[in-house]
Amino acid sequence: MPRPLAILSTLLVLAAAPAAALEPAFVVVAHPGVPVAEVSRLELSRYFLKKSTQWPDGTPVRPVEPLDPRLRERFAQQVHQRSAAAIAAYWNALIFSGRDLPPLEKSDDADVVAYVRATPGAIGYVQAGTDTTGVKTVGIRRSP
């Protein structure tokens, strides 16, 4: 899918969310070497829940999240279709069973972009309008 269409589809997915999120609250960014231009909502959810840990070319997926609780709530509601509290409970279960650890956390959007730019396989999300120079913007497909 051409990039403008991918961005348009992202907007469509986000438009299906509550009115407060009519404008895209976040943009998904990835390392320039990541071999996808767009992903489905379900695939994106699996990358951030570490249910899928490799890109199609075998590179490890390295998810990273900002600390901003409002952005995390929007991402959780729109991508995982769960509350941020439910996602925190999901990670508690995985941490204390020794199964996995949650994505890295960075203190602000600039740190997320810097980590994604410098780390092969990295994927993150930042507030729309953040300077994303040097990283790839990944669209969200409506269908699987």
Binding site: L42, A85, A88, N92, F96, S97, G98, L104, Y115
Partner: protein, 369 residues
């Protein structure tokens, strides 16, 4: 009572729970969870950690350390601390071949039921404790297995997903057999005080299969079998199997499990629970639970209260955040399978039967970071 009020106030006034520690972009991560509770029973009986006078000395802390020296290799350990014990709860090394295959070796949390790997993780459940009829000293669930295992998961293009575990080795069960003096002929040890024994099961082969559905429902089937030392000269085959279902949608959380265990030719037990929880708002949660456990022993005629456990419980929780909760619950128990007076012997339970009905109140806090 003043001490209890001060401790409860200290818990409530504690600062927000700290975040986990990540070093070198996740190559070393440190997490922790802990708990403190006050537990009191009625009618002169004790119920595991709960006592008739009230037990305040129930604090615990677990430190989980995970090192990831390279993307496919993870080394994880859980150090457990309580007022009477410090120990290694589990420690294992994992090599991730792919999402579908991860190899594990060491002392690994036992993948059984919905919560076998989460016995100490209080912030993952609505009640302070897991149901004793499945996760207590009921000869069903161990804290960990000692050996090697495989695990993996597979998700398609839909929200369906499967996860499997397969393991080999040994495990230690917590065993509490209050009915021991009823057996004919009685064992010589029946005049000794009742204790929770550690029973080793060798040569185990176990597994769990989990199915995640798009309907907010997760189904699991799990079990294991091995050889248990019955006495100094004989071994018995030991088998455990069960079904688990979890449903979470909106404010509702439902969970139910049924497990059967058998020391072949000696005894068998059935344990089950139904747990429901409802979020009243973002912080308050109401929960209820019904559970039962029963053991049948060929050398005992019929089923006595010492072989039976029935329990109903209600809890009210206040969650400050997903990592900090205060829980209060009341429990009504019938039977003496896990409930009996402290410092008593197996023989005493037969000659002076304890009260069959016992109430318990519990107030506690649990946290995780």
């Amino acid at each position: 009572m003043r001490r209890f009020v001060l401790l409860a106030a200290a818990s409530l006034l504690a600062p927000a729970v700290a975040r986990a520690v990540d070093i070198n972009d996740g190559q070393l991560a440190i997490h922790g969870d802990g708990a403190w509770s006050f537990q009191r029973t009625s009618n002169g009986n004790g119920y595991l950690d709960a006592t008739p006078d009230g037990n305040y000395d129930l604090a615990s802390f677990n430190l989980v350390v995970a090192a990831r020296p390279e993307p496919r290799l993870t080394i994880t350990a859980d150090l457990a601390f309580d007022p009477h014990h410090v120990g290694l709860e589990w420690m294992f090394v994992e090599w991730r071949v792919s999402d579908q295959l991860r190899l594990r070796a060491g002392r690994v949390k036992q993948p059984i039921g919905s919560s076998g790997e989460l016995i100490f993780a209080g912030t993952t459940r609505p009640f302070y404790q897991l149901p004793v009829s499945v996760y207590g000293p009921a000869n069903i669930v161990a804290n960990s297995y000692l050996g090697v295992g495989l695990t993996g998961q597979r998700s398609g293009d839909t929200a369906w997903g499967i996860e499997y575990d397969l393991y080999f080795g040994a495990l230690k069960l917590n065993e509490l057999e209050t009915y021991r003096a009823l057996e004919v002929p009685p064992e010589a040890s029946v005049t000794a005080p009742i204790t929770v024994d550690r029973q080793l099961v060798r040569e185990i082969l176990g597994g769990r299969l989990s199915l995640t559905t798009p309907f907010d429902l997760t189904l699991r089937v799990s079990g294991y079998g091995g050889r248990m030392d019955k006495d100094e000269t004989s071994k018995v085959t030991f088998l455990v199997g069960g079904l688990s279902a979890e449903y979470q949608a909106g404010p509702l959380r439902l969970g139910s499990e049924l497990f059967v265990s058998a020391e072949v030719h000696y005894e068998h037990s059935v344990g089950a629970h139904l747990t429901a929880a409802w979020w009243l708002d973002d912080h308050w949660q109401l929960a209820g639970r019904l559970e039962g456990f029963q053991t049948w022993v060929p050398r005992i005629d019929g089923v006595t209260p010492l072989q039976r456990h029935r329990e109903g419980a209600l809890a009210l929780n206040y969650w400050f955040s997903p990592g900090l909760v205060v829980k209060a619950s009341v429990h009504q128990v019938s039977g003496n399978r896990f409930v009996y007076p402290a410092h008593t012997s197996y023989q005493d339970l037969v000659t002076s039967p304890p009260a069959r009905r016992t109430s318990m109140v519990l107030v506690g806090t649990q946290f995780a970071f």
